[in-house]
């Protein structure tokens, strides 16, 4: 059976990973290749790397960074930022990206998807849509013009479906960086009938938020950015929490099987007996 995925998003500004809040304020975190290395070791299923300034500055994401980050990743990595031609996609793939994430280019020109899917196959194309809630209605957000885009969410999704979308990457602008949980009400408001897999993102603040998202029948993957950067082994701990509750891949070389965590995803202290035993336990190194 196919597993539900947990994806780590790395948001880039000036080639530094940043913490983003509501697409407005940004705080620096560190080098993307180091973040990628850690998330891999901790058992992430996939990475998304996006340069959020690239399109506005009319350039492609820095290919040196793509190369550095992909070198650290043993899982697939989707790359976004400033893609508006077939050559851009080709350059990203040859720098080490496995898929590309496209947002504003296809919003204005969905036909570009068709052109790209005929060359690279649609499995290579992740279509990103930023959505915002206004008076109980979900609308498409245009991050370049910092306003509402003219077409409805369902119209955009059906256009992408027809033209060759591989995956939909839906981000909630209101919840971005707020740690208040995913806004799943979107799926009640919208009859999303897309045949392609959906990655949902925006607002993850605790392990249970992943669970609520992944349990949803329409959602195939949940992506989080800020959540993963501020706790050691964050991915491993989330997967420990999710195991047996939802079908995921949990086969990291280390895990937290004997540990308990609280509702915020923090580890509880192990009981004294286990700690005593650990003192004399021989741990054998795993080899490939």
């Amino acid at each position: 059976m196919l597993k539900k995925r947990i994806i780590g998003t790395l948001i880039l500004k000036n080639n530094i990973v940043v913490q983003s809040k509501r697409f407005k304020s940004f705080l620096p975190i560190g080098k993307p290749e180091i973040a990628a290395e850690y998330l891999n070791q901790w058992g992430i299923d996939e990475l998304i790397l996006i340069d959020v300034d690239a399109t506005r500055q009319n350039r492609l994401i820095d290919l040196d960074i793509v190369e550095k980050v992909s070198l650290q990743s043993k899982v697939p990595i989707a790359i976004g930022g400033g893609i508006n031609s077939v050559d851009d996609i080709r350059n990203i793939l040859s720098a080490g990206g496995d898929k590309v994430v496209i947002n504003s280019t296809i919003m204005h020109n969905p036909k570009f998807l068709r052109e790209a899917s005929e060359i690279f196959g649609k499995q290579c194309l992740v279509c990103s849509i930023d959505i915002i809630k206004k008076e109980k209605k979900w609308l498409v957000y245009d991050y370049l013009n910092k306003g509402i885009f003219g077409k409805s969410v369902s119209k955009i999704i059906s256009e992408y479906d027809i033209n060759g979308c591989g995956e939909l990457f839906i981000n909630s602008v209101d919840r971005d960086g707020t740690y208040t949980g995913l806004d799943l009400s979107l799926f009640n408001y919208l009859k999303i009938s897309s045949k392609c897999p959906i990655i949902f993102s925006g607002g993850i603040g605790k392990p249970n938020d992943f669970l609520e998202g992944l349990k949803h029948e329409k959602i195939d993957a949940v992506a989080a950015a800020n959540y993963f950067h501020f706790q050691e082994h964050s991915v491993t701990i989330v997967k420990h929490f999710l195991d047996n509750k939802v079908l995921i891949r949990n086969e990291n070389l280390f895990n937290y099987k004997d540990s308990e965590i609280n509702s915020h995803g923090r580890l509880k202290k192990k009981n004294e007996n286990i700690l005593d035993e650990l003192l004399f336990k021989k741990i054998i190194m795993e080899t490939i």
Binding site: M1, L2, K3, K4, R5, N40, G43, D45, E67, S70, L71, K74, V75, P76, L93, S94, A95, G96, G97, D98, K99, S117, E118, I119, F120, G121, K122, Q123, C124, G166, E167, K195, C196, P197, D220, A221, R249, E251, L253, I288
Partner: protein, 208 residues
């Protein structure tokens, strides 16, 4: 000990870097990336990558006569070859991706579009386990219960005798095929974390 010479067939498509990156883990091999006849013929084993549409892949292979060199290396000289994703699909008789296209015809079978009545959402993307394996060398205890990364909208349909692994995606889906020295996998071992490296290790052990 002499290092094994592994040639990744470079025909201008796909993400070869991630395969090099994964194979760099192994110290007992030399990796060459080339489409040159000499490099292909002198190697001990070949890897046929493939990302993108079948039609553009097969066109590129034929453009530089790489298909002729590969036929010689694989069918006459019997070099072990591992096809990955579209690299595996190229081994079929034909594909219906963007029209009808003839493949390398190494393994009887056709590449067909995945149908949503039979399978779940298309493309089949993400981590899936192999619920059927029948080759103990390639899918040993360490590998056969692990998850692998898939990302495709077309699938290889072939006779039971050539299938060495399947995965469950609402219906059974061919995950790996083998005929003599020819091996193909629908998943991406180079992007399947530790399970993928273990699979590469098993393939490299078949190379003498």
């Amino acid at each position: 000990m002499k290092k094994k010479q592994i040639c990744i067939v470079d025909y201008g498509v796909g993400n070869i870097k991630s395969i090099i990156n994964a194979l760099n883990f192994f110290k007992n091999i030399n990796i060459e990336v080339s489409y040159n006849r000499n490099d292909i013929i002198k190697s001990d084993a070949l890897i046929l990558p493939g990302v993108g549409a079948f039609s553009s892949c097969i066109k590129n292979l034929k453009k530089n006569n790489i298909d002729i060199t590969l036929n010689e290396a694989v069918l006459d000289l019997k070099k072990p070859i591992l096809g990955i994703c579209v690299g595996m699909q190229l081994m079929a008789e034909s594909s219906e991706e963007n029209g009808f296209h003839e493949g390398l015809r190494w393994i009887p079978g056709k590449v067909l579009k995945m149908n949503t009545n039979k399978f779940s959402k298309i493309p089949h993307v993400g981590w899936n386990n192999l619920n059927y394996t029948n080759n103990k060398n390639l899918f040993n205890e360490k590998v056969k219960n692990k998850n692998f990364y898939f990302d495709h909208s077309y699938h290889f349909v072939t006779e039971k005798g050539y299938i060495i692994a399947e995965t469950d995606y609402k219906s059974q889906l061919v995950a790996a095929i083998k005929k003599d020295n020819i091996v193909g996998v629908q998943f991406h071992p180079e992007k399947s974390s530790i399970a993928g490296l273990s699979f590469f290790k098993n393939f490299l052990q078949l190379v003498s």
